[in-house]
């Protein structure tokens, strides 16, 4: 098999340009998978055909050293040792940022022990060139004892040369992976680490053609300029809020035409299906299959735009600054500045947000962030809020509802902060909280990279959350259709369905928050996806409106005339606010619970989170309903 499947492993520090190099080698054609038995993700792909070297390439998580005992470090060790199903690597590529060379070469000493050929890929050569900083590469290669190839991540320069070095490695001795056991540096004392770094730093500086002090100034010149504005105590905060507001506005404004398109597309597809396929099968295909696919796909635009925005901010180097600016206020609530990105993504969807929690170093802060993510106002709540706020403010100017919506967003953040504050008292910290964050040099982000990355992230959302949402949507279709599936009238069919029976069973629970069984059915169906609430309400209140745009209107009319069993109006200001409060707090999303389990690797955590937030949401809804009545608002 030798020569047919050369396994190349990329290793390097965060911000080293590893992913960019990986994309040059594989041509963006890669898949992201979890390491066996771990939540750590890696990308794997094949070397582009044009290099005529048949090789698989594996990316590893970014790490500075093999000193700390993170899961990422463990996995990287296992990969080098050939203990994973990937097999023993044939050659290692240490990716090192040319502007941070001494620090990024720290991994080299450990890697050389593995007796696997190593090549150093020195990235950011364009930055070095622009800053007129250069190395005596021959001397550097000699002193380090490994070949060095300079890479220009923007234009792909040097990638061919790197492949040539790897080709030569292919003919070298069979790697054994032995000696890797010594790789583990956990036994190193801080003094040993320091002296190793000092030696490396002297070695690198001696091969620098520019004086180190001047080189540093030239390299950091542009970044220092930007930071004077973006990290300015006052201006920095103002710009931070400006950038975040712009990001959020773009999620809603830019995504809405696409979402409408998907929504209408699936709507007309469902109509088409039910027009051609009659009976139960037609209903199953239209309202079961097609509608649930629509429920999964309608959030794709928002998730894509948010991931794209976050990726642009990340690649430019700003996200690390944002985390720095917000770290202090976050620490008051037991969180870390690094919680910022997950909490930000949570406003699109909790599922990808939970996957982003891994970058938080302290276990306690990681759990706290994971815990409060479902409280952020995710986009699935929007259709529900839109319906209920329109009902509340139908006679008022439009900005009333807008202001109320902003209040709900802020409310989600506030409740999240309070829950975190309380929970932080309960969770014992096993490890200390650290921040110590490298602020990378500012770089112009590459559009193609951001598009590809956010596309992959969106796809991974669809793959992870999709089946769960789809499955539950099917159950709800069955629950609202059977056993009286042969009745033509939708309302009658629903009244006799299993879902209605369950709703009536739940009526005693619904009463205290001013709702009845029909709202109960809506709330149960919302567990598939929150926005399903709107469509099930439409079915429950028998809105048979052909025109999609009028659906909300007539539902609003039905809602205002709907009465309780005693004849009093069902939807009052108090009861609607009660439902809104429930939606704000309750964790009604099975996909979120599933992801919480995967990320925390604890059923206890995921169950506790789901049950607690539902009870808390319910009690708050009841309190809001009765509280408002006490003040004379019914």
């Amino acid at each position: 098999m030798k020569g047919l499947d050369v396994k190349i492993v990329l290793i390097g520090s965060p911000n080293s340009g590893k992913t960019t190099l990986f994309n040059w080698l594989t041509g963006h054609k890669s898949k992201t998978v979890n390491y066996p038995g771990s939540t750590v993700e890696y990308s794997t792909g094949r070397l582009l055909n044009s290099y005529s070297l048949d090789a698989s390439i594996t990316d590893t998580p970014g790490l500075y050293s093999l000193v700390s005992k993170s899961p990422e470090e463990e996995i990287t060790l296992q990969v080098i040792q050939g203990q994973t199903s990937l097999g023993v690597p044939q050659s290692l590529v240490l990716v090192a940022d040319g502007t941070q060379l001494a620090r990024h070469l720290f991994l080299l000493k450990s890697l050389k022990k593995a007796k696997i050929p190593v090549v150093v890929a020195m990235t950011m050569s364009d930055l070095l060139k622009n800053s007129q900083v250069s190395y005596d590469l021959k001397a550097l290669e000699e002193k380090l004892g490994v070949p060095i190839v300079t890479i220009d991540g923007r234009l792909g320069g040097g990638v061919k040369e790197l492949v040539e070095v790897l080709r030569k490695f292919e003919n070298a001795t069979e790697p054994s992976g032995e000696g890797v056991t010594e790789l583990k540096l956990s036994q190193w004392s801080p003094q040993e680490i320091e002296s190793e770094i000092r030696a490396l730093s002297q070695l690198v500086e001696s091969c620098m053609k520019t004086s180190p002090v001047e080189a540093q100034q030239r390299i950091q010149n542009r970044t220092a300029m930007w930071d004077r504005v973006l990290l300015h105590p006052l201006m920095g905060i103002v710009l931070f809020f400006g950038i975040m507001t712009a990001l959020f506005t773009s999620i809603f404004w830019m995504a809405s035409p696409f979402m409408d398109f998907i929504d209408e597309g699936f709507g007309s597809m469902a109509e088409l299906v039910s027009a051609h396929v009659t009976g139960l099968l037609g209903d199953f295909l239209a309202n079961g299959i097609v509608a649930s696919f629509g429920a999964v796909l309608v959030f794709i635009p928002q998730i894509f735009i948010l991931s794209f925005g976050i990726q642009i901010l990340e690649d430019s180097g700003y996200l690390a600054r944002a985390a720095t600016l917000i770290d202090k206020p976050f620490s008051w609530f037991g969180l870390n500045g690094k919680s910022f990105v997950p909490l930000l993504s949570a406003h699109a969807c909790a599922v990808p947000a939970m996957m982003a929690v891994r970058n938080i170093p302290s276990r306690k802060e990681r759990w706290l962030t994971l815990f409060i993510i479902p409280l952020m106002t995710c986009s699935a709540r929007l259709p529900v809020y839109a319906l209920l706020l329109t009902f509340l403010f139908k006679d008022k100017p439009a900005w009333w509802a807008g202001l109320a919506l902003a209040t709900l967003y802020f409310g989600g953040l506030l409740i999240g902060a309070l829950v975190s504050l309380i929970a932080s008292r309960w969770i014992q910290a096993k490890d200390k909280s650290f921040f110590a964050l490298e602020l990378p040099l500012y770089r112009a982000p590459r559009l193609s990279h951001a598009i590809v990355t956010s596309f992959k992230r969106t796809l991974s959302y669809a793959v992870r959350a999709g089946p769960i949402i789809f499955f539950l949507a099917l159950i709800i279709w069955a629950g609202t259709t059977f056993p009286a599936y042969d009745i033509e009238n939708k309302t009658e069919r629903l009244e006799k369905s299993y879902a209605a029976q369950m709703g009536q069973f739940l009526e005693p629970v619904m009463k205290p928050m001013g709702a009845d069984w029909r709202v109960g059915v809506g709330l149960i169906s919302a567990f598939a996806a929150r926005e399903v609430f709107v469509s099930s309400m439409a079915v429950v209140f028998s809105v048979a409106e052909e025109d999609e745009s009028k659906l909300t209107d007539s539902l609003l009319n039905k809602m205002s005339t709907a009465t309780n069993s005693d004849g009093a109006p069902l939807f009052t200001v108090a009861s609607v606010i009660g439902i809104i409060v429930y939606f704000m707090i309750a964790l009604q999303c099975m996909a979120t619970t599933g992801t919480a389990f995967k990320e925390s690797r604890s059923w206890k955590f995921a169950t506790l989170q789901t049950v607690l937030f539902n009870i808390f949401g319910y009690l708050s809804a009841v309190a809001a309903f009765h509280g408002l009545r006490l003040f004379g608002i019914s």
Partner: protein, 90 residues
């Protein structure tokens, strides 16, 4: 050698004589690291970020809350919390 001695001279001019650690140094000031002590994981992390005794550090920014501070060390720019910056003795 000349450059290094100039650098050291500069650090003497700008550094605040009272500063015992990096957090006390103050924005715009430069100092030389004498020692790094504290939690071993944190110390290891600081080494990885480029902090080491003998290296020159400069505080370049401070957050509006006074914490974290942003520091230039070697070729990198790093944000440190107060609790982390006090581990860097000057």
């Amino acid at each position: 050698m000349i450059l290094i001695s100039i650098e050291k001279a500069q650090s003497k001019i700008y550094s605040s004589p009272m500063a015992k650690n990096l957090f006390e140094l103050g924005v715009g000031n430069t100092g030389e690291i004498k020692n790094i002590s504290g939690d071993s994981i944190l110390v290891g992390r600081l080494f990885e970020l480029g902090f080491k005794s003998g290296a020159t550090v400069k505080v370049v920014h401070k957050s509006i809350f006074g914490d974290p501070i942003i520091v230039d060390v070697e070729f990198s720019r790093v944000a440190l919390r107060k609790a982390e910056a006090v581990c860097v003795e000057l």
